[in-house]
Amino acid sequence: MATTVHQPPQIDSGRLPETSHSGNGGWRNLVPEDGDLRVVQHYSPPASSTAIWVVLFAITMMFAALTSALVVRKGASLDWRHFTLPSILYFNTVLLLVSSVTLEVSRRRVATFMGGLRSQSESPARWLYVTLFLGLLFVAGQYIAWLQLSAQGVFLATNPSSSFFYVLTAAHALHVLGGLAGIVYVIRKLSKSVLRRSTLDATARYWHFMDVLWVYLLLLLWMKL
């Protein structure tokens, strides 16, 4: 066993660029043969922008699994019964699409605000509140759709088609609630003036994804149920 006591080499801070911080390893080999360290121009993206893609990928896999389960289950036996989707779903879809627009408006306003291009008197959070309200309205609308279906006697266990309807819409609604929590977080950070641009961008990306996911689910349900 080697037990040589070894002093770790001291890093000569004079050789490092001024702002020494983690997160700029880059994709390429940044150090030339002679061992000198070049000043790195291109920094890695902030971790939250990678992380949000990780989250979206996991959600995609989850709904892909549920979609394939739906297709397999529908083909597995002849007990699949069709039912008409509650029309409020289409109204909810519009709400969610509009909320994406309002979030995009607010994202631009906040960017302008953070860039110091607007006066402090205009609240940059206003459109975020609108988005939050529309999002809550969407979840409430989904809840009304469930109430309407159950009033018609269509429950979770009534038929495999209704089982998948409830599972998919509930899973989506839960993820939308997660997005709303994200918007609340952004509003809080903004009010304390500690909002990071990357946080806002990540939240927006998640919210738009919820939109796309819902349109996909609506098409799936419309075609398959």
């Binding site: 880059g26 080999n29 360290l37 971790a47 597995a76 007990d79 266990a157």
Partner: protein, 589 residues
């Protein structure tokens, strides 16, 4: 902008319980895995004793379950309940948590030169959700009629109909599914931290190809986990709904169980198997790929020269990850799915042996002509290679549907997966423990005890799992709690031999536990770099590393990860963080 904005903790709770420090979270995961491994091992002892001496009463077992083990003799159902818990605990809470979550959490940020993971709160949640998942699973021992008896695969429809299918199939299975759903959440939160840490938080000069092979192992594993656990979670939720909400996802029509017509209709039992194995097969690689990274890292440090090719090892691990999603159907050759699908799944299964073989050739080929330093860590790394080869060879047979029809659900399969993913991954964990313990605790482990532990474990596990293959070829079906059929009775002496071997090998693990605890408090103080390694974990200003890992100055990386066999002021190696210029050998561009 520094990512680690959390100040050093001051209270006991923040320091040791709800800690945001990736190093503490890593150690918490390790402690959980150790606890789970001990529980899983005791369960295997109970099963082995019963298989060797079916009528023997195990003193005290009746206290755990009055109905399951009246007078200390377990019923066939209770045998299956213990087996289910053994499998679930080992696969999820040991083989996934220890090599990936425990060591990955501790060393991934340090090895890439970061101060912490980017989302420490999610990281903390990841551990605590997993811990609650473990408690929920264990709770099944103490509620209702005990844990589920469906096996770790929980095949539908029996897993989806409730207590009519047997003891533990009601509450026990619901607890099982809840535990697994929580586990999935924990692992997804883990991947959420591992992937951005690897991609975005690397120190200056740490290009992707300069990352140590361990980092590559954890990175590839977190990508696999992200895909696999995101599929398992909806599957177990559907299973829970079949239980509690009366849906029929997995239960077919006109199913009569114990003379009772089931109220479900039209579900697909194969659907569960597809969803489960789409997770289940990558899970095998989730258990083993971190071990591959660890073993490569330990072997390189011990043999004082780089691997024949750094890149080939990375690409092979990546190929395993991609292929692992294409082969899952080989678990289902006899499930009744279309026979043509068997062919489609058999082919990639044979293809996946190619990257596995390349990895083995890389390890063995690099060893050739090296001056290997024999330590407990390097011995366990060699043991890993040995187990991976011995267990892997039987995979060639099982990959072929025509042979699998005969060997399916026999001890041949049990021997195969225990060696190739169970024991091999355990050896990876042991190797990593002996290797990194000095850095994690500031104290050395006892090498003599470590070597005794290795030889007893190495010989012992061969004595246990090699005969499994012979039993399987003799037609010994798995999951039987007793061998009353005439053709199985001549095999009982083999089972008794295995039981004795299992008891001795299990007892040998107590040496490890003693070594671990004794060294933690009374071990020899460890130097900063006891194995003369080159990667960044050996460049921390203190041992164990401080709260932000590197003190005031983050390291910059000047060299490829494994620069051994060079002439340098420090000896035959140059550290990644050392700006010293050396005549580099084998540096890959």
């Amino acid at each position: 902008m520094r990512y680690n904005t959390t100040p050093p903790p001051t209270t006991f709770i923040r320091k040791h319980v709800f800690s945001l420090d990736h190093k503490v979270i890593g150690k918490q995961y390790y402690a959980l895995a150790l606890l789970a491994a001990l529980v899983g091992m005791v369960l295997s002892w109970l099963m082995r004793i019963h298989l060797g001496w079916t009528a023997a009463a195990i003193p005290g077992l009746q206290l755990l379950s009055k109905d399951g083990a009246p007078g200390g003799v377990m019923t066939p159902e209770y045998y299956l309940q213990l087996m289910t818990m053994h499998g679930t605990i080992m696969v999820f809470f040991v083989l996934t948590t220890a090599p990936f979550a425990a060591f990955g959490n501790y060393f991934l940020p340090i090895q890439v030169g970061a101060e912490d993971m980017p989302f420490p709160h999610f990281n903390m949640m990841s551990f605590w959700v997993t811990f609650v998942g473990f408690l929920v699973l264990i709770a099944a021992f103490f509620v209702g009629d005990g844990p589920s008896l469906g096996g770790w695969t929980q095949y539908a429809p029996l897993s989806a109909v409730g207590s009519v299918a047997g003891p533990g199939e009601g509450t026990g299975t619901i607890l099982w599914a809840t535990s697994i759903a929580l586990f999935c959440v924990g692992q997804l939160l883990g991947a959420l931290n591992f992937i951005p840490t690897t991609l975005d938080l690397r120190a200056k000069g740490m290009s992707m190809m300069r990352m140590p092979l361990t980092v590559w192992g954890w990175f590839i594993t977190s990508c696999m986990g992200l895909t696999a656990f995101a599929v398992l979670m909806p599957a177990v939720i559907l299973l829970i709904l079949d239980h509690v909400a009366g849906t029929s996802f997995f239960v077919p029509s006109n199913l009569v169980i114990n003379d009772q017509l089931q109220p479900h209709s039209g579900g697909s039992t194969l659907l569960w198997q597809h969803l489960f194995w789409f997770f289940g097969h990558p899970e095998v690689y989730i258990a083993i790929v971190p071990g591959m990274g660890i073993v490569s890292h330990v072997l390189i440090t011990s043999m004082r020269k780089p691997m024949l090719s750094h890149r080939v090892i990375i690409y092979s691990m990546g190929a395993l990850a991609v292929l692992s999603y294409m082969v899952y159907g080989h678990h289902m050759f006899v499930s009744g799915m279309n026979p043509f699908s068997s062919l489609a799944f058999s082919f990639p299964t044979l293809v996946i042996t190619i990257p596995s073989t390349i990895l083995v050739l890389m390890w063995i080929g690099s060893l050739y002509g090296s001056k290997l330093r024999i330590t407990s860590a390097s011995l366990f790394a060699l043991g890993f290679v040995s187990m991976f080869v011995s267990g892997g060879v039987s995979g060639f047979f099982l990959a072929q549907p025509s042979i699998d029809i005969m060997l399916h659900a026999t001890y041949f399969v049990v021997g195969h997966f225990h060696m190739v993913m169970g024991v091999a991954a355990m050896f990876g964990i042991f190797s990593a423990t002996y290797f990194w313990f000095p850095k994690m605790t500031g104290r050395m482990m006892n090498e003599t005890l470590g070597k005794i532990h290795f030889w007893l474990s190495f010989v012992g596990t061969y004595c246990i799992f090699m005969p499994f293959h012979y039993l399987g070829m003799a037609g010994n079906v798995r999951r039987y709690s007793a061998f009353v059929v005439e053709y199985l009775q001549p095999l009982i002496p083999v089972h008794r031999f295995i039981t004795v071997a299992a008891l001795i090998t299990g007892a040998a693990q107590l040496i490890f536990v003693y070594n671990l605890i004794h060294s933690r408090f009374w071990g020899e103080p460890a130097p900063d770099n006891p194995w003369e390694g080159t990667s960044l974990e050996w460049s921390t200003p203190t041992t164990p590393p401080p709260h932000n890992n590197f003190g005031d100055h983050l390291p910059a990386v000047y060299h490829d990860p494994y620069q051994y066999g060079v002439k340098c002021s420090t000896g035959d190696y140059v550290m990644q963080a050392s700006p010293e210029q050396v005549a580099t050998v084998n540096e890959e561009k």
